[in-house]
Every structure is written in C-alpha cells, then in structure tokens.
C-alpha cells in the first residue's frame, strides 16, 4: 500500500464501502437511487470507508468497518453495502457531468470520542465534490 497521509486522495485502484439504507435501494428491482451517494443529513460530504486500509479478505474488511462504526451508525438488516472502485466513481461522475464536476475521495480518519462512546474509525473517508477547475481543470472523461 502506498504511503498515504490523512487528507490525501485515495488511489483510483482502491475501493470504498458505502452503507445504503432500504429507502435508497429497491431490492425487487435491484436498483439504487443516486441520493444514496449524496451526503446524509448529518454529513458535510458523503461518508465512506476505505477498504484497503484493512487487509483482505473482503468479509474481514467489512467486519472491521462495521466494528469501528458500531456506536456511530445504525445498520439495518434490509440495508446493503455498496463497494465502489474509486476510479470508477470519479470517471462516471466526470463523464455524466461533461467534466463540470469532479470528485475526490479523501482519507479522513476519525478519532475515538469517549464522551459519546465512539471508537476510532481509521478507515473513514469522504467523497468530496469539487468544481473541475479546483481539481486541476481537467475536462477529461478518462
């Protein structure tokens, strides 16, 4: 794993995990709504977890993510986890917005908060939307 500092972008080849509640996932149609990837009401940016922070296999990675978030977040049985490749998220959004919007996926580990009984969430990351110009002016679809 390349050396990444807090606040750095996560490599395009890596993956993030996003929990999606039933309201945003229609199981019978196997369809997700775009709002699933927008910031939740209590989020500034869309929260995700960087999977490669933990060692594979995937089950272990997911279990560790869930354990770290156990008091911060309520998972429901009818929700799902969506695993996304960072490069795909960035490419698709750039393509669909004709390059007007660029996303960065930033590693933002969270410290423990004993006053609220929150554990540290070291793999926490955020999907940040920036104007293409801010992100370097690239209009490419690639």
């Amino acid at each position: 794993m390349a050396k990444i500092e807090k606040g750095d972008s996560i490599p395009d080849a890596d993956h993030v995990l996003r929990y999606v509640k039933n309201a945003h996932f229609d199981k019978a149609k196997n369809k997700l709504d775009g709002e699933a990837f927008e910031p939740r009401p209590n989020e500034k940016n869309a929260s995700v977890n960087w999977l490669e922070y933990y060692s594979p296999p995937l089950d272990d990675q997911i279990r560790k993510v869930m354990r770290a978030k156990r008091n911060r977040f309520t998972y429901k049985r009818n929700g799902i986890f969506v695993r996304l490749r960072v490069g795909d998220i960035r490419r698709v959004v750039a393509r669909e917005t004709q390059g007007k919007v660029e996303l960065l996926v930033i590693w933002v580990p969270l410290d423990a908060d004993p006053t609220r009984d929150y554990d540290a969430d070291p793999s926490h990351a955020e999907i940040c939307q920036v104007a293409a110009e801010e992100a370097g002016g690239s209009k490419s679809d690639s």
């Binding site: 509640k21 039933n22 309201a23 019978a28 369809k31 709504d33 009401p41 429901k76 009818n78």
Partner: protein
C-alpha cells in the same frame, strides 16, 4: 363482487374497444386506490376476482351471437382480463414497496410525506402502469419513482406533495446515439404529455 359484475357489463357492451379497457383499468385501479393507506390490500382482494373469467364467457354466451363472433369476443375478454391482472400486479407491488418504505421511515424516525404518497397514488391510478418503477424514499420524505432501460433511457419522478412533480427524463433521439435530457417541475397533465414519447418505458 361488485367489481366483477361491473366488469362483465362493460366488457359485454364494448367487447373489443380500447375505451372499455381504459374504463375498466381506471375503474379497477380507482377501486384499489380508494383508501391510499390500503391500496395494496385492495388490489389483493380484487385480483382473485380476475382469476376465473367464466362470468365473462357466460355473459357472451347469453348474447346468442354467431359462434365465430362469440369466440372473438371471448378471446378479447381473456386478453382484457390478462391486461387488468398485470396492471393489478403492478399496483400490488407498488403498494408493497410503499408500505415497506413507510414502515421503515416510521421505525427509524425518518421523514415520510403522506402528501407525496397521495400524489404518487393519484399518478398510478391515472396511468394504469404495466411496468413497476423502482421506488425510493428521499431524505426529504418524498417518494421518487424511476424507470430505466438497457439503453440508459430514464424517467425519474419526485412527487413533491403539492400536486407537482419534479422530473428528469433521458430519451434517445430516434435513430441516433444522442440522449435528450430534460428536467424541471410540472403538474400531472404536463407530465402525462411528456411521458408520451417515453411510453415504451412505463407501459
């Protein structure tokens, strides 16, 4: 039983007419949607009435028509019943999904807009859909219905709860690879007009 009798009368009067299909569809969906909170339950009750169309056949026989004509009418009646049944299935599935979303929201203390649901019910009852959309509950409590296909055409409708609908539509221009994208806010009748060009996605 009332529904079955009314249906028989309408079919006998207009055996092969598109008008009778529309009339019956709207009648059945109207019945199913009378009580917004129990639409799926209503559809569930009506569906068995359509399982056995013998009363339709009996009504046709009673008209004492030539056998060939009679057979044609019965065939039309069978098609009609199949069509209504598929519409009822869609209504039932929509009702199940909406009830699930409402229950989830209630349990989690999240927003669920009854007025958005009422608008959605009205929309469904008017259009008698044969393709069930994906249905989502947005964080603002409104319902959103989405139809899409493998060509990446899409219809997304958010029911705002005041009679208006926020829409986004992607439609391939005929014979081209160009995707027409439109969005905005419109009322029911405007939306119905816009849906004409994307009818293949919802009917």
């Amino acid at each position: 039983m009332v529904v079955e009798r009314d249906m028989t009368a309408t079919v006998a009067a207009h055996p092969s007419s598109g008008v009778s299909l529309a009339t019956i569809s709207s009648m059945v969906t109207g019945v199913a949607l009378v009580s917004a909170g129990a639409w799926s339950a209503a559809a569930e009750k009506i569906a068995p009435l359509l399982e056995n169309p013998t009363s339709l056949a009996a009504a046709v026989d009673a008209l004492s028509l030539a056998p060939a004509v009679s057979e044609l009418i019965k065939q039309g009646a069978d098609d009609l019943v199949r069509n209504i049944r598929s519409k009822l299935e869609v209504i039932y599935e929509i009702g199940v999904r909406v009830a699930e979303l409402r229950d989830d929201a209630k349990e989690s203390g999240e927003l669920f807009s009854e007025s958005s649901q009422a608008d959605f019910s009205k929309f469904v009852s008017r259009l008698a859909l044969t393709r069930r959309p994906s249905i989502f509950l947005l964080d603002n409590g409104n319902l959103r219905a989405v139809w899409d296909n493998e060509k990446k055409e899409l219809i997304g409708l958010q029911f705002l709860g005041d009679g208006s609908i926020q829409f986004v539509m992607f439609r391939l221009k005929e014979g081209t690879e160009i995707m027409d994208r439109t969005s905005g806010i419109a009322d029911f009748s405007e939306i119905s007009g816009k849906l004409d060009s994307l009818a293949h996605m919802i009917w």
